[in-house]
């Protein structure tokens, strides 16, 4: 017996019996297919699918264009959603002492440079994927551990107050729409 416990049998059967797939096109015209259970993790996409009236029959013929998300981010997002599509609803954390640990698979997935991660967060926010948002924010939060303000400024790409002021000044100096 060498049955891989990685993939639950339920999942295999369900996919076989109910292989509803959707096509998504990223802003840079990459095409992705995603299963129904996975796409439901994105509230934005699922609302869209429902509103468009896509069904098992016509789904693949009607790719969904997502203009705010590029291919690189979309790939991560599709991977994430497929990975977590059968997750059970997480229990409410009632005990605030309990520390939530990011699963290793997800930590690997999100081991990308900050620029990418920040883009991914914006994409995740747009697609409204609660769990991925939690995980991304967690990764960003962990970066802050034991850092000084200067280190945080660099990590998070925050301008100094002086830079901020300069930016504001140049904005107010530049001619407005009427000028």
């Amino acid at each position: 017996m060498s049955v891989e416990p990685e993939v639950p049998i339920v999942q295999v059967e369900e996919v076989r019996e109910n292989p509803v797939l959707y096509k998504i096109i990223s802003s840079d015209n990459h095409v992705f297919t995603i299963s129904e259970h996975a796409v439901k993790l994105s509230k934005t996409l699922w609302d869209l699918i429902t509103n468009l009236g896509l069904t098992a029959e016509n789904a693949l013929d009607n790719p969904i264009p997502v203009e705010n998300v590029n291919g690189k981010n979309m790939e991560t997002i599709v991977q994430f959603c497929e990975r977590h599509k059968y997750d059970e609803e997480e229990p409410e954390y009632t005990n605030y002492i309990r520390e939530f640990v990011l699963p290793e698979w997800d930590r690997q997935l999100l081991s990308i440079d900050n620029e990418e991660l920040f883009q991914l967060i914006l994409a995740t926010n747009y697609l409204d994927i609660q769990k991925l948002m939690d995980y991304c924010c967690r990764v960003i939060g962990d970066m802050a551990k034991d850092k000084t303000p200067e280190e945080l400024r660099i990590i998070y790409g925050i301008p100094t107050d002086a830079e901020d002021d300069a930016l504001e000044r140049s904005a107010s100096d530049s001619p407005g729409p009427s000028g």
Binding site: I97, F118, L122, C137, I140, A144, K147, L152, Y156, G157
Partner: protein
């Protein structure tokens, strides 16, 4: 280049909730924009990861404010409004600092403290250690009472206890520690410490309901009757009359609450009387210098034995021990 500040505020809010408390306080010091965003944010209390440190230590004096959260420390200095922070193991020279020349160090602290309160709405914590030198300090941190199991007050006069102890919920408080505040200026080694009067403090529900009490370095009147309602007591008396020791022995044997009573003393008056009244002690001299004498006595209606240990180091300890731990050859008296 993407930046945290380009995030929509809902996203930034989420990130803030993932930061540990200390990181939020650090982030506040990065820029004006972030500072005002953090101060206006909701910082949900029960977000999954906002682990609140079990202990807060706060020292407030004219020159600086020291805030210790778990293993991290922040110091807000009046001079140049410098803020320094470090981890437990580091000393200050290895820590980090930043100056906020246009700000006021007390206001900077108060805003950080407001964040702390937002993060812990319940105001529950294991331990709160507080040292406020200036009793008229305008730094008001007690908008409502804290629910701390242990409260450590560093004080130099009873009025400080009367002022600050009521801000801690009496029902939650288990252990109260009153310590002498470290003095700023070295006073010319006056031996006669000023008396520390417990009157008034004894009337506070916090004093009445706490189970464990420690009084360190404060010259309280050597009257054991003030402490008999506690379960464990550790108290410093400059001098103890041997009659008080005898009274304590009697009270300890009959008390339904006391389990341990430790007195640190400079001297016992008429201590030669002790051997007369208590009988010969069971002596153990370990290195010939620091010896201790032990007496054992029965506790009515109990399997346990009362033990009295007096050491040459200056401590008297009453405790309850099991019959088995009484050394052979020791006499158990009434």
């Amino acid at each position: 280049m993407s930046s945290l500040i380009d995030f929509p505020s809902v996203v930034l809010d989420k990130v803030l909730n993932e930061l540990d408390l200390f990181s939020v306080l650090t982030l506040r010091k990065v820029s004006h924009g972030l500072r005002s965003f953090i101060d206006d944010s909701t910082l949900q209390r029960n977000s999954k990861n906002s682990i609140f440190p079990p202990k807060i230590r706060l020292e407030i004096n004219e020159e600086f404010i020291l805030l210790e959260l778990g293993s991290k420390t922040i110091q807000y200095e009046k001079h140049q409004c410098q803020v320094l922070w470090k981890k437990e193991s580091e000393d200050w020279s290895r820590g980090k600092s930043k100056m906020f020349e246009e700000e006021n160090f007390e206001e900077l602290f108060l805003k950080d403290f407001a964040i702390i309160l937002k993060r812990n709405n319940s105001r529950r914590l294991e331990c709160f250690e507080l040292g406020i030198q200036d009793i008229d300090s305008k730094i008001d941190i007690f908008s409502s009472e804290f629910k701390a199991k242990e409260v450590i007050l560093k004080v130099s006069e009873p009025d400080q206890v009367l002022k600050f102890l009521p801000f801690f919920d009496a029902g939650t408080l288990e252990k109260l520690v009153l310590m002498a505040a470290e003095r700023q200026e070295q006073e010319d080694e006056k031996d006669d410490k000023e008396k520390f009067n417990l009157r008034g403090i004894e009337e506070l529900p916090q004093w009445k309901q706490a189970k464990n009490i420690e009084v360190q370095g404060l010259n309280v009147a050597p009257k054991i009757e003030n402490f008999l309602h506690f379960s464990t007591v550790k108290v410093y008396f400059e001098s103890v009359a041997y009659q008080e020791v005898m009274l304590l022995k009697e009270k300890f044997a009959t008390s339904s609450t006391l389990t341990r009573f430790e007195i640190l003393f400079d001297y016992i008056t008429d201590d030669e009387q002790l051997n007369t009244v208590l009988g010969e002690s069971f002596k153990e001299l370990d290195d010939g210098l620091h010896g201790q004498e032990r007496w054992f006595f029965r506790i009515p209606n109990s399997q346990e034995i009362g033990e009295l240990v007096i050491t040459t180091m200056g401590s008297i300890v009453f405790s309850r021990v099991s019959r088995d731990s009484v050394p052979g050859g020791a006499v158990v008296r009434d």
